[in-house]
Amino acid sequence: MPLLAVRDLEAAYGDFKALHGVSFAVERGEIVSIVGANGAGKTTTLKSLLGIVHPTAGTIELDGTRIEGRRPSDIVERGIALVPEGRNLFREMSVEENLTMGAHVPRARRSARSRVAAMYERFPILAERRRQPAGTLSGGQQQIVAIARALMSEPSIVLMDEPSLGLAPRITLEVFALIRQINERGTAVVLVEQNVVQALELAARAYVLSEGKTVMQGSAAEIRANPEVKRRFLGENSPP
């Protein structure tokens, strides 16, 4: 049984239907990349998984339990965490307060202090900046706070929405190394990333979304070799 199984997911914003049938699965401890053009439904899919957007049809199973339609507080409590696009930090709160908010769910709240200490050990830069308002950090540091905040609830699966967005190439490499490190510790990762080349290098498997539907799936190598993917997302022309 996969850790996360999404079947025929549909979701809408008012009258606008954003997802028409997204299906994918994530095994324990693997990295799965979701690839697609702008507006393909990647972010909506992640928001639906966390309950921020309510699915109108389809199912989401986490560890065999249906979670679609549940509230985000319940879903985070069950072990899914999100690193949102744009980071969504609490800009006027300190780094430490941001991290503590990551352990807000009852399962994690009692041990919030020790979890913060563990994050400082893992990311020493956060210990240095612990009292600084998160909004005053550099883009790369803010991304580390967003990732560390998501890890505070010790999730079994982390959803990452465009983690390299707006970062310098050198910082992007550091963020990708961090994602690999998180995964090596046993946490599954769903990676939505504009930087398709690097995302596919990191992932074991990938799914391609188009107009709110899953249109392609396979190993990362298969997806990377697909002529359509090469043409649309990797900027390569197919051989004549």
Binding site: G14, L50, G51, I52, R71, P72, S73, I75, V76, E77, A81, L82, V83, P84, N88, L89, F90, R91, E92, M93, E97, T100, M101, G102, H104, V105, R109, R149, A150, S153
Partner: protein
């Protein structure tokens, strides 16, 4: 000496304005609801206190915690029974909450008139004044100011040091960020509306020691709180206190130099000036 006296008067008044506006600010910050019933809660609480003082001789120090508890229960009930039922995630949520609190304002003002009548009431407690080097400090205003400071400090400590308080601040800074952290937004909103109403009721209990009030004066306190929040900067708690002190001083100086009736225009004038010259307020968030 007159100027010092006016500054003292203005600061004492500003302290109580600050408490009232903090309640308004919490509700706006978390829910983006401009609570047009805010001033009516202030006035109703003042009426209840005046009645309890007159009929039962209850000390305002005893009435204050009762006002806080009663205000919290009233606010939480208003959220659970009314505001929570507004359609969520639509563009019209802010507009419909405005209409709802507008209606609630009329309901509370009308209900207050039916229950308490239209006559002016106050709590004549500590009617004397201290004389400090020729400056007169009314005892009731000083007590109200001190209690407002204690309550504002308690509120600040709650928001800073408790998990629920941090969740309120986080939600007001980034709703989706709070959702991603697993914050139960519905609960935070009920708590915030309850807390905001409790603070408004506490401000009413303190106002009853300073002003003669009747149930139809709520709109004046709503405008005051709104002006304070805009002057200080929407969403900024420190700005709220600063804005209230500015408004208190403006009120004291205008009353003395121009006339008491024109002092009521002070919030509107400051509101317009700040909106034109410093749209994000004295300490507001500079981001769009």
């Amino acid at each position: 000496m007159t100027v010092v006296q006016l500054v003292v008067n203005g600061l004492l008044l500003g302290g109580v304005f600050a408490l009232s506006a903090l309640g308004f600010n919490i509700i706006y910050g978390v829910m983006r609801v401009v609570n047009l019933a805010h001033g009516d809660v202030v006035v109703i609480a003042a009426m209840v206190c005046a009645l309890a003082f007159g009929a039962l001789g209850l000390n305002p120090l005893v009435l204050l915690p009762v006002a806080v508890a009663g205000g919290f229960v009233l606010g939480a009930a208003i959220h659970r029974l009314l505001l929570r039922r507004l359609p969520a995630e639509t563009a019209s949520t802010e507009a419909s909450s405005l209409t709802l609190t507008f209606g609630l304002s009329f309901f509370l003002a009308g209900g207050g008139l039916a229950l308490f009548g239209g006559s002016f009431r106050s709590v004549p407690f500590l009617t004397g004044a201290f004389d400090v080097g020729g400056i007169s400090i009314p005892q009731a205003k000083l007590l109200a100011f001190a209690l407002a400071l204690v309550l504002a400090a308690a509120l600040a400590a709650f928001l800073r040091f408790t998990a629920a308080g941090c969740a309120i601040r986080a939600t007001s800074q980034h709703l989706e960020g709070a959702l991603a952290c697993g914050v139960d937004i519905d609960r935070v909103r009920t708590l915030s509306y309850g807390l905001g109403t409790a603070v408004a009721a506490a401000a009413g209990a303190l106002m009853s020691m300073i002003y003669n009030l009747n149930p139809q004066m709520g709109v004046q306190f709503t405008v005051n709180a709104f002006a304070v929040v805009v002057i200080g900067g929407l969403g900024s708690y420190a700005g709220c206190v600063l804005g209230a002190l500015v408004l208190g001083l403006a009120n004291a100086f205008t009353s003395y130099f121009v006339g008491a009736s024109l002092a009521e225009a002070a919030p509107y004038v400051l509101f317009i000036l700040v909106s034109l010259l410093m749209p994000s307020g004295l300490l507001g968030r500079r981001t769009a």
